[in-house]
Subunit: 163 residues, 3 copies
């Protein structure tokens, strides 16, 4: 009965649910409140030249394709901050919020965004509603990066515990 602690019931290549969404972050520059969906709440420090400590809160649209203006199928609500003094690197915690005919519920996610790597894995640590008690992995990839003021991530959401 201590199976969980020693067996390998999960197969990295066989998620029980999988879908790809695009995350669009448009940072408030002080004048574009109509378009912006995120804002800096703590400024970068003077430790290094890569925004160390800059903390951004977001309520970003999630779309099925990579067009910013496609109809959102959910929102990503949470924060990230930069955390490395000698290169760009970040850390994220957020909730994917779904309220459509397809899905209702949330997925809670956290992890390191190791920006120098082409793809990075975050953890899905819980879920609610249609995603009741889910766990899994979100593989993210930078799809475009336009200075500080717009970037887009492709998020490959793979759940390995589905109930």
């Amino acid at each position: 009965q201590s199976a969980l602690a020693s067996k390998k019931p999960l197969n990295e290549k066989s998620p029980c649910k999988r879908f790809v969404l695009y995350y669009h972050d448009t940072l408030f520059n002080g004048t574009d409140a109509a378009n912006a969906t995120s804002a800096t709440v703590a400024n970068k420090t003077r430790l290094g030249d890569f925004n160390f400590g800059m903390l951004v809160v977001f309520d970003d649209p999630m779309t099925k394709d990579n067009h910013l203006l496609s109809p959102p199928v959910g929102r990503a609500q949470g924060f990230f901050f930069y955390d490395k003094k000698n290169e760009y690197n970040a850390w994220f915690a957020f909730t994917l919020v779904f309220n459509s005919s397809e899905y209702k519920g949330t997925l809670n996610i956290m992890g390191a965004d190791l920006m120098p790597q082409k793809t990075r894995d975050l953890s899905v640590v819980g879920g609610t509603g249609d995603f009741f008690m889910a766990r899994g992995i979100v593989t993210i990839e930078t799809d475009t990066l336009q200075g500080d003021f717009y970037f887009r991530l492709k998020m490959d959401i793979k759940l390995y515990e589905c109930y």
Copy 2:
């Protein structure tokens, strides 16, 4: 042996442990340090009119009934921030800390507080001590809201993984 990934061993209506507690947040206004149990650490931004980005750290009492002055049975230690430009909405991460004859240990919780909804679900993503390795859902409901300076949440804590 990939049972976990496809079966439904958990039943949303049958938590293995369940209890209700009330969370009391009294925000520091600069002069009431004796009563306050939370404080703003980053001010709201100018993105919208709903405190976007305002970040609050708290060490709030948890009680069995909805009276602020009832003896606390635990503390909620963590933070929340507002994150929507066109309505009030928040995001929480915190630990429920118990150190009583009834329970010793912690529950770690995170998720979106979709304030326009009557009830909102957060994820219990881990636990320690008497709650070793627990997972579950916390359903929160606003019990009272007195401006910025006091609000109370009813928290219905439902664990589905108990060890």
Copy 3:
């Protein structure tokens, strides 16, 4: 089939993987950018005398022994803040990032650092790479504390779900 909700398949004394590492936090004082690996991004508030609300972002080295200058075997990337008005107490969320011949992958961790206790338990809420879908407990202990500017934690990392 609701076994998970009622059984005790995990044994607190028998993790499926266990290792000890040391965490070194050197706070930026404005002039030591070469050595510092963390920085204050939100200042303490005036609520109490124990740094309430002071928020620190870090990218700290993890070593196998307690020497700051030993070769790091990983990094701890995340943040902590102080959250109690009448004593020192903190809250952490971070990712342990490994990229060595021994381990490649991440562990995601959060929880309360109840500083007055000799040892405190945080939750490992997810993992990636070699730690795919891991969960567990990190028991931390203050190994040394040199004012605000350097402290070291012993971290006893115990995984109970290994895949």
